[in-house]
C-alpha cells in the first residue's frame, strides 16, 4: 500500500496543477479489447501496447512485441498504427518503447514513446514520455512532448486502474495532445469478466462498459461507450505467449470502425 501511495500522490498532484492545453483532439485510448469493452483499458492484455495508454501495465514478460491498428469510422486516412516492444529489466520493472502514427499524410501525427513500469505486490505503477510530431500541409511540422502516468491494482477477482495521458505537456500547441484520464474497475464473475470505465477529456466525461467471456483460449467481448453511444463486439485468442484480438465498433452516425492487435511474448 505504501508503494501505491508513494506513486499515486505525485500523479494526483500533477492532475491538480496541470492546466489543459486546449489542444488537438486525439483518438480514444485503448486497443482492440479495450474498445470492445467500453474503452476499459484493463481489457487490453498487459504488455508493450499499454505504453500508449496505461503506462502501469507494461507486463512482466522477458520480451514482448506487439502491434495494433485501428481504423475509426472506416476511414483509411485516419488509421492509427502502433508498434511496441517491452523488455523486463531488474528490480521488477519493465521498460517499453512504442511508435504510433495516425492521420492522413499531410496532417499525420507520429508519436515516439518510452515508458517504465514497476510492479509491487498488488500494484503496478508506471510513467511514459511521448515525443510528438505533427505534419502540416502548408507549414513546417510541429513538435511537442507529453507525460503519461498510470496506476493499477489487482486483488483476486477484482481490479482497478487509473491512467492519465498528457498530464503535462509542452511544445507547439497544435501538436500537444489533449489531456485525458480513464478510471475503471474490473470484476471476474464465473466465466465472465465485467468492465466499467469513465473516460474524461476536454470534451467531458463518457462512461463505458462491457463483458468478456472466456471460451477455451478465446474471449468474446461486447460493450458500449458514449455519448454518442457506440456499440462494439470483439473476439480474442491467446495461448503460449501469443495473442490476437479484433473488434468492430459502430457509431450511430459515422458507421463502423475496426481494430486489430497482435502480440507475442516470451
Amino acid at each position: 500500500m505504501r508503494t501505491a501511495v508513494r506513486f499515486s500522490l505525485p500523479l494526483l498532484a500533477c492532475l491538480l496543477v496541470v492546466k489543459p492545453a486546449g489542444a488537438a483532439v486525439q483518438p480514444d485510448p485503448g486497443n482492440a479489447a479495450a474498445r470492445a469493452c467500453g474503452l476499459a483499458l484493463l481489457a487490453d492484455p498487459a504488455g508493450p501496447l499499454a505504453v500508449f495508454d496505461q503506462a502501469a501495465r507494461l507486463g512482466s514478460s522477458h520480451v514482448a512485441i506487439a502491434s495494433a491498428t485501428m481504423r475509426p469510422f472506416g476511414l483509411d486516412a485516419l488509421t492509427r498504427t502502433r508498434l511496441a516492444l517491452a523488455v523486463r529489466v531488474p528490480h521488477g520493472a519493465t521498460l517499453a518503447l512504442g511508435f504510433e502514427t495516425y492521420g492522413p499524410e499531410t496532417a499525420q501525427r507520429t508519436r515516439l514513446v518510452a515508458g517504465l513500469a514497476v510492479q509491487r505486490d498488488a500494484f503496478e505503477v508506471g510513467a511514459a514520455w511521448s515525443e510528438i510530431r505533427r505534419e502540416r500541409a502548408a507549414a513546417d511540422a510541429e513538435r511537442a512532448g507529453a507525460l503519461d502516468a498510470g496506476l493499477a491494482w489487482t486483488r483476486g477477482a477484482l481490479a482497478g486502474a487509473f491512467a492519465a495521458r498528457a498530464l503535462a505537456s509542452g511544445g507547439a500547441p497544435g501538436a500537444r495532445p489533449d489531456p485525458d484520464w480513464t478510471l475503471e474497475f474490473r470484476a471476474d464473475v464465473g466465466p465472465a469478466r465485467i468492465h466499467g470505465a469513465l473516460t474524461h477529456d476536454l470534451g467531458g466525461t463518457r462512461p463505458g462498459g462491457g463483458l468478456a467471456f472466456a471460451v477455451g483460449p478465446a474471449r468474446l467481448r461486447a460493450g458500449a461507450f458514449g455519448p454518442p453511444w457506440s456499440g462494439a463486439v470483439g473476439v480474442g485468442v491467446g495461448a503460449r505467449g501469443f495473442a490476437l484480438a479484433a473488434v468492430r465498433t459502430h457509431h450511430p452516425e459515422l458507421g463502423a470502425g475496426d481494430a486489430f492487435d497482435a502480440a507475442v511474448a516470451w
Binding site: 489542444a23 492522413p104 499531410t106 502540416r136 497544435g174 470534451g203 459515422l254 458507421g255
Partner: protein
C-alpha cells in the same frame, strides 16, 4: 324618346390617348322599314349652358338606314370606317349629344353631372373612363332614362351590336407566370364571362390553349407597339376543355394546363371557341413564357452591402455572346434599371462569363478593388432592393423579386430573394439547376460576396455516385475563410444530415439537418463549433447521412478535415 324609329345607340367621346380621329356616334334603326336619314341632325351639347347645341352632321338625301341596321357617323381613324366620316367634337366631361329628326323629335344622351334637363333623358348616364364608349345596354332599347339605358363598353363596337346575342369573353387568365422550368406545366385559370344576351348551353363552347415556340431573337427592327416575337412554327392546339352552361352575365373559371415539350420561349394563348360569337375580339389572351433559363442568368445578388452600392452579377449561358445593351433589371414593383454600356457600343458577354450590374461602378470598384473594371456595367435607374419582407407579411414571404429581361421584355431569369443577411450576398450554386430551387441559392461564404468571379458556393462538378468532398482543401487554416463541404447522394431530394465530429465521434457542429434537402448541394463551414468557438487544431470527421423520402434507401459518406 319612346317610339322613335331611329335612336342613338353608341357614343365614343373619350378615346384612350389623343382623341383625334377616333370619336364616333352610332345610330340604330329599330324598325323593319328602311328609314331615310335626310334632314336628321346630330348635335353636340355644351354642358356649360342650356340649349347650346352645335350641329356635327346633317343627313343627306342619299343617307338611308336599312331595317334594324346601324349607321355610324365618326372620324377617319375609326375602324371599321364609319358610314359618314365627319369631324366630331364631343366633350370628355359632362356633356350631351342628341339626334334631331326632321319632325323635331329628339333622342338625347347626357353624361356626367348635368344641370339642365334638356341635356339628358330621365337621369344622365355615367361619365365613362377613357377608352370606354357609352352604349345602350340592350341595342335600340330606349326607356327615356339615360342612366338605366346606357352602360360603359370596352372595347367600343362601331357598326356592330353593343351586346351581341352571343358573346363569350375571356376576361383574363389567372396564375400565368413568365418563367417555368423544363418539365413544369404552364397552368392557368381562364375567367370566362357570358356577355351576350343568350344563355350558353353545356359544351357549346370550349376553352383552349394554343402554343408556339418563339425564336430566340426578336423580330429585327420591331418598333414600339409591334409584336417582336417570331414564332418558329404555327400555333398548335395543346389543351381544350368544355364550358358548362352559363347564363347571360355569369362567369366561370376553367383550369387549363400545358407542359411545353422543349426549353425556350413560348407564346401560349388562351382562347375561346364559341360559334357565332358576336364579339370575337375578346376571346384571346396571349402570354409569353420562358421555359428554362434564358441566355442570361442571375448569378449573385447583393441587396445588403456592408459598403458600396447594391449590385447583381449575371452570367451568360448557351453558346453565343450576349449583347447587354438594352437589358433591364427589375424589382417586384416593376421598377426597371436599363443597362447602358456607354458610348463604346455593344457590350457582349461571352458564354459562361460574368458581368456585374450596379448603379455606381466607381463605388463598387472601390469596395472590390480586385474586380475587373471591364466586367462592371452601369444600370440606371437602379431598382433599390428590399432587404426584408413587408412588415406583417406571412412567414415565407420573399423580401424581393427580381427579374432580368432582354430588350424585348421577356423574362430571361426571375428570382425571389429571402431576407438579406448583412454583408452576405445571395449566391447561385449552379447554373445547371433551376433558379427557382431554393436550395440552389445560399448566403455567400465570403463577406461582401464574389462579384465578377466564381461564387463561393459553386465548385467543380462532383463525380458520380455518393460523394462528400471538402473544398478548396481539407486543411482548414485559421483566418483563411470557410471551407465548402459538398455532397452528392444520388437522390434528387432527401432527408440529409451533415455534421462534423471529433476523432472520438462527438458532435462538433451540425451543418445540415433538413427533412427535404437537395441530393446534391454544398454548405460552408467557418471553422467554429456549435457554440461558435473556433475548433481546436486536429483531425475531424464530416459525416453525411441521406435518406430518400418514403423509402428505406439511404446513402452515407465520411470525409476528414484537418484544422491547423
Amino acid at each position: 324618346m319612346l317610339g322613335l324609329p331611329v335612336v342613338l345607340n353608341e357614343v365614343f367621346y373619350d378615346p384612350a390617348g389623343l382623341d383625334g380621329g377616333f370619336e364616333f356616334v352610332e345610330l340604330v334603326n329599330r324598325t323593319a322599314l328602311s328609314v331615310p336619314l335626310a334632314g336628321f341632325r346630330l348635335e353636340a351639347g355644351d354642358g356649360a349652358g342650356p340649349e347650346r347645341w352645335s350641329v356635327q352632321w346633317t343627313g343627306a338625301a342619299g343617307d338611308v338606314l336599312a331595317p334594324f341596321a346601324r349607321f355610324t357617323i365618326g372620324e377617319g381613324r375609326v375602324v371599321p370606317l364609319p358610314d359618314r366620316v365627319v369631324p366630331i367634337e364631343l366633350e370628355n366631361g359632362p356633356d350631351a349629344v342628341r339626334l334631331v329628326m326632321p319632325d323635331g323629335a329628339t333622342d338625347v344622351l347626357g353624361w356626367g353631372t348635368l344641370s339642365y334637363a334638356s341635356s339628358f333623358e330621365g337621369r344622365p348616364a355615367p361619365d365613362v373612363a377613357s377608352g370606354f364608349s357609352l352604349a345602350r345596354a340592350v341595342d335600340g332599347v330606349d326607356t327615356d332614362d339615360n342612366a338605366a339605358d346606357w352602360i360603359a363598353l370596352s372595347p367600343p363596337t362601331p357598326g356592330a351590336a353593343n351586346r351581341p346575342e352571343r358573346d363569350l369573353a375571356l376576361v383574363r387568365v389567372v396564375g400565368a407566370v413568365e418563367r417555368i422550368e423544363p418539365g413544369d406545366p404552364f397552368a392557368v385559370e381562364a375567367v370566362i364571362a357570358n356577355l351576350g344576351t343568350a344563355p350558353l348551353y353545356p359544351d357549346e363552347a370550349e376553352a383552349r390553349l394554343w402554343a408556339a415556340p418563339l425564336a430566340d431573337e426578336p423580330l429585327p427592327g420591331a418598333g414600339a407597339g409591334e409584336d417582336p416575337f417570331v414564332p418558329l412554327g404555327p400555333d398548335s392546339l395543346v389543351t381544350r376543355a368544355g364550358i358548362d352552361a352559363l347564363e347571360p352575365g355569369d362567369s366561370t373559371r376553367i383550369a387549363l394546363a400545358f407542359t411545353p415539350p422543349a426549353p425556350g420561349t413560348w407564346r401560349i394563348t388562351a382562347a375561346l371557341r364559341a360559334p357565332e360569337d358576336g364579339a370575337p375580339g375578346n376571346d384571346r389572351v396571349p402570354v409569353v413564357v420562358q421555359v428554362g433559363p434564358g441566355v442570361l442568368l442571375l448569378s449573385e445578388v447583393c441587396a445588403a452591402p456592408d459598403d458600396g452600392p447594391e449590385w447583381v452579377e449575371v452570367v451568360a449561358r448557351g453558346n453565343v455572346d450576349v449583347a447587354l445593351d438594352g437589358w433591364t433589371f427589375e424589382d417586384a414593383t416593376g421598377r426597371r434599371g436599363r443597362v447602358a454600356t456607354g458610348g463604346g457600343g455593344a457590350f457582349a458577354l461571352a458564354p459562361d462569363s460574368f458581368a456585374v450590374l450596379t448603379s455606381d461602378p466607381a463605388a463598387l470598384l472601390a469596395r472590390h478593388p480586385a474586380l475587373d473594371a471591364r466586367k462592371v456595367v452601369a444600370c440606371a435607374p437602379w431598382p433599390s432592393l428590399n432587404n426584408d419582407p413587408p412588415s406583417g407579411a406571412p412567414a415565407g414571404t420573399p423580401a424581393e423579386r427580381v427579374a432580368l429581361r432582354p430588350p424585348d421584355g421577356r423574362a430571361s431569369d426571375v428570382l425571389e430573394l429571402p431576407a438579406a443577411a448583412e454583408a452576405r450576398t445571395r449566391e447561385r450554386r449552379s447554373t445547371a439547376r433551376p433558379t427557382r430551387e431554393a436550395s440552389n441559392w445560399g448566403d455567400s461564404a465570403e463577406r461582401g460576396g464574389s462579384p465578377g468571379r466564381a461564387n463561393s458556393l459553386a465548385g467543380a462538378a462532383l463525380p458520380p455516385g455518393v460523394v462528400l468532398a471538402v473544398a478548396p482543401s481539407a486543411h482548414v487554416r485559421a483566418g483563411a475563410g470557410p471551407v465548402l463541404v459538398r455532397w452528392a447522394t444520388g437522390f434528387a431530394r432527401a432527408r440529409v444530415t451533415l455534421a462534423l465530429y471529433d476523432l472520438r465521434g462527438r458532435l462538433v457542429r451540425m451543418l445540415v439537418d433538413e427533412d427535404d434537402a437537395p441530393g446534391t448541394a454544398a454548405v460552408a463551414w467557418d471553422g467554429a463549433d456549435d457554440a461558435g468557438r473556433a475548433a481546436a487544431p486536429g483531425l475531424y470527421v464530416v459525416g453525411l447521412v441521406a435518406r430518400a423520402p418514403g423509402s428505406v434507401a439511404h446513402a452515407s459518406a465520411r470525409a476528414w478535415v484537418s484544422v491547423e
